[in-house]
Each structure stands twice: as C-alpha cells, then as structure tokens.
Amino acid sequence: MIEIENVSKVYKMGDSEVHALRDVQLHVPAGAFVAIVGPSGSGKSTLMNIIGCLDTPSSGSYRLDGQLVSNMRDDALATVRNRKIGFVFQTFNLLPRQTALENVSLPLLYAGVSRRERREQSLAALKRVELTDRALHKPAELSGGQRQRVAIARALVNRPSILLADEPTGNLDQKVGREIIALFERLNRDEGVTLILVTHDRDLAQMAPRRVEIIDGQIVSDLTS
C-alpha cells in the first residue's frame, strides 16, 4: 500500500531550481492496478523513482506498507527495494552472461536466501510467467517477449508489495506487448499483485482500471473506471 503526501521534488541545476514534482498526493491500496500517464518531462519518471525507492522526495512523506521510507538512506532504501519493489524496465535489464534462472534469482541473492531456496523460488517465479522451459537459456537466446517475462519473474520472485513497470512494452512489437499486458492483468486479477504501470501511451494506460495523469509535476487527473 502506497501513501504519498504532499511530495515535492526539486533539482538544482546551476542557479535555477527545477520542480519535478509539486505537492503530489497519491494513495494506492494493495491489489490495485494503476497507470501513471504523462508526456516525457512531466515528472512521471521522478514519481516512479520515488515510488520505487530509487530516490527520495525533497519534501513531503512517503509510506510504503505503513513504513516511512521518504527519509531513508541508500542502504536502507536498497533493502526496501529488495523486499517490497519489483521493477520491470523498458529495456529488460537482464544480466547478459547469466541464465534466465540466475537473473530471476538475483533479488533473492541480495536478500540472503539460501542456494536451494533461491532455485526453488526462482523456478516457481518462472512458472508464473510460463517460462520454465527456458530457465537455463541466456537472454541472448530468448525473444524480446521472453526476456520481458524473465524480467517480470525477477520482479515477482521476492513477492514484492508493488510491481513497478516502466514502459514495459516500449521495446516490444504490438502483439507481444499485448501479451505482456495480459500477463500483468492476470497477475493482478488472479494473484492480487499490486501493479503500477508507468507509460506515455494513453491506449496502453486504458488497460488499467485506474489512471493517474501527471503534467508539469502535478497530478491533473485521477480516474477510475
């Protein structure tokens, strides 16, 4: 569950200040599927980074599952990311020299899970994205859609509170992109995974029951259909 209150983010660029986010309020209950839409430069990346605990706000507070994370430092944030956030990137960001299974188990490695359990949980995660048969393949031996599904398995493997997907279909063709979105919907519907989809694509955003639009660092609309 996400509770963002009065969050602002200011970057200093030389003498001038850039307000990437102004006084943002956002609550996302567990099990929701929310799309965050906005053109590039709107501040949606900044918001995503804050939600994903990669960045902290200049002011305001952010609670994740009741825990105040907005004042945490590097290593504490890393631990929160490891336990609570699953990232899905536009460019997949798999480690090229490692197999799908090894890529999926990476978060477990940093969580200190034993070797045996890593293997079991990673295989289970690959099963959830229907890629068990590709477990020992390296990213280069997989199609784009398969790579993104490995990345989703990696995001799921630690059973995070939030799955944070940043333009997850941006590098895929339309048909494969739809399959990935369908996978997200299924995970959200059947397994109750909280899903935040960040995109500039309005059509894609329509897939989410709730759409938050951000322009110039402010939330301009928050619609639930």
Binding site: N49, D75, P107
Partner: protein, 400 residues
C-alpha cells in the same frame, strides 16, 4: 550476499574478458616472479656466504695491521707498524687462551714448470695453518716447522695447478718455479673447490718466511688465530690486544676480527642486498597494481548499467564494493600464483644452468610475494570498487 556468490559473480566477469584479464595479470605475474627470483638469489647468496663463515669455526680470530672502526677484511694503513712473524710468535707463546696461531702472507705470482706457466695465488703459511683451518692433503706432506725455520724452498700445490702444469703424472719432489724462484713440490692438496671467492685448487702454499722474502714484505698479511673454544674467545681477543699493543709501543695499530663479526657483517650486507632486490622487484609489482586499477576502472564504467540493475534489485553499497574488490583481488591473486610458479621455476632453472649462482627459495619470500599480490589487488581495487559502490542507481540505469 554470500561470499560464494560474490566470488562467482567476480569470476564470471573475469571469464567474460579472458584476454583482458590475462593481460592485466601479466603485470602482477612479472612483479611476483621477479620478487621470488631476486629474493631467492639474494637469500642464496646469504646462505652461501654464511655457510662458508660458519664452516670456518666459531672460535676463529683474524688479526691484520691497521686500525679500522668498520668491520670486515681489508688493507691496513701503510704508516702503521706491520704485524711481524715475531708478533705471531709472541701471541703463540704468551696467551693461554689461544690454541693455534697461523701467520699468513698473501701474494700472487707466475708458477712455472718447463714451458707451462699460470698465474696463481701464493699463500705463505707455516705448520700451524692446518691447526687453524682444515686443509685436507691429497698426497705428500704439508709445510713443517723445519721447512719454515730453515726457509726451505718447498711448495704444496693445489690440484688444479698440479694438473695444468704437470698433467696426471706424480709431481712429488719435482721442481717448480714460483715468481722466478725455484721450489720443490712436497705435497698436493685434496680438491676443495671455491670458497670466499678463492679457488683453493689454484692455491700454492709455501713457507711464510720464504713468502716474505719472495714478495719483499716487512710484515704479514694477517694472522689467523684459533681460540680454545667459544668460551675463551673473548679472553683470547683481550690477550691478542694486550700482547700486540705491548709490542707496538702501546698503540692499537691493528684490528682483531672474530669469525662471528665477519659472519654478522656478511649477514648485514646480504640482508641489505636482499632488501634492495626486493625493493626493485616491488616496483614492477606496483606497476602491475596500477594496471589492475586501470582495468577495474574501465570495467566499472562498462558495467555501469549492471551496477544500476543490481542496485535496483536491492544490492547495497557493500555488495557492489565487495563484488569489484573480489574481482581485482582474484585478478592479482591469479597473477600472484602464476608469478610464484614462474619465479620459482626460473630460480631453479638459473641454478641448474649456472650452479655457481646460489639460489634459495625461502618460504617467507613465497608468502611475501603472495601477500604482496593480494595487497596490490586490495589496494588498487578499492578506488574502482568504491566508485562502483557510490554510483547512483537512477543514473546508472539510464547509462548507455
């Protein structure tokens, strides 16, 4: 993250860049190999010299003319009164702590027989010489008191001299010319080989009084003295000082050095030499370390995105730091191991090819080399690893 996994991740990256990693280790390989090689030679030299001095017996004293503060053997000042045969005689008679006193005159000259000749070291000695140093005789007899008293022109020659001038025939009783004076051969030394830079097989021994005449000298080169045993070494030194001072108008214009002093000097010199060699070798290790740092910095830059991904997935600073640090340590340790083997092989090879170069591979030099290469990996790996650990995950994920 566990050590095993960290090590795996590091090994993985090394394997992915085999050629680059190999070339990087080369610097450390050369550094460690030269440490091992040079230290082995230094230590070999030290052992060799220490063995020689220790082999002389710990109750030996050497007296030479001239007062020196520094230790070691050398020529005395010419203004001082020389130590004479009479001085040696007095030492022999007046000290209870002294077992044997051997006057020594060193000189060089042409040794001839018939048409054959060679340059040789000529040592004037008397019958006391064998009491001070063990000089095994091959055949015949050594110079006796009668030879000395009667200034008989007799010579005992080394094995090599005998073979070169006379071939394989029996030489006892044959004439030999030493520095244009006629001598008669009375004995041949058993083969002894080189020691202290002298080849004893090339040595020619004649009575010390003959040597003084032959080389036209007023005094002895030195006097070798044997004390009864270790406990009366110091009393013997005191005796020698007192007796000689008494005879030299109360001036201490001579130097008494014990075998222990010489041994210590030799140890000091060779230890310093070993350190210098170690220092020289360390420079190449340093250069190797800089090579590692360079490559690690490149590696961090190349893998910025990977670092970003790892951080996004929950890697803490420490995880990233250790991953890169282990990588640089692995590179340098691999170099260290190869260098260790290479250095040892070359050292043994050198000794096998040129047995005159003493070589000793000491365990400590192996540990030092290994420890050094590990330290190089840590020292030169820290900066790149810290750079990697400090990367901002957002920036890193955006890095192309």
């Amino acid at each position: 993250m566990e050590w095993l996994e960290l090590t795996r991740a590091s090994a993985d990256s090394i394997r992915a860049n085999k050629l680059r990693s190999g070339l990087t280790t080369l610097g450390v390989v050369i550094g460690v190999a030269s440490v091992i090689l040079l230290v082995s030679i230094g230590e070999g030299m030290r052992n060799y010299l220490a063995d020689i001095f220790a082999g002389m017996g710990s109750n030996l004293l050497f007296v030479s003319s001239g007062k020196r503060d520094t230790r070691g053997a050398g020529k005395g000042l010419s203004t001082v009164r020389k130590i004479t045969l009479e001085d040696a005689q007095a030492l022999r008679q007046r000290s209870l702590n002294v077992v044997a006193v051997a006057p020594i005159v060193m000189g060089g000259g042409t040794v001839e027989h018939g048409s054959l000749s060679r340059e040789s070291l000529v040592m004037g000695v008397d019958e006391n010489m064998p009491l001070v140093r063990t000089l095994p005789l091959g055949s015949g007899r050594f110079i006796s008191a009668e030879d000395e008293d009667g200034k008989r022109r007799v010579a005992v020659i080394g094995r090599k001299v005998a073979r070169e001038l006379f071939g394989e025939r029996s030489v006892l009783g044959l004439p030999i010319k030493i520095a244009d004076a006629r001598f008669r051969i009375i004995g041949i030394m058993a083969p002894k080989g080189q020691s202290l830079g002298y080849d004893f097989d090339e040595m020619v021994y004649i009575p010390v009084s003959c040597a003084l005449d032959l080389f036209n000298l007023e005094g002895l080169t030195s006097v070798w003295i044997k004390a009864g045993n270790q406990t009366n070494l110091q009393p013997a030194i005191d005796d020698v000082r007192r007796i000689l001072k008494n005879r030299h108008n109360n001036r201490e214009d001579f130097t008494v050095v014990s075998q222990a002093d010489l041994l210590e000097t030799v140890n000091q010199i060779t230890a310093t030499m070993t350190l210098v060699l170690l220092g020289i070798a360390s420079i190449s290790l340093l250069v190797g370390g800089i090579g590692i740092m360079n490559i690690m910095l490149v590696s961090v830059r190349e893998r910025t995105r990977e670092i970003g991904v790892r951080k996004a997935l929950g890697a803490r600073r420490r995880d990233i730091l250790l991953q890169f640090l282990i990588e640089s340590v692995m590179v340098s340790l691999m170099g260290g191991l190869v260098g260790l083997a290479l250095g040892s092989l070359i050292a043994l090879g050198v000794h096998a090819a040129v047995p005159d170069i003493p070589v000793k591979i000491t365990p400590w030099s192996l540990f030092v080399a290994f420890g050094f290469s590990m330290a190089v990996g840590v020292f030169f790996g820290v900066a790149p690893a810290q750079k990697a650990a400090a990367l901002d995950p957002i920036e890193s994920l955006r890095y192309e």
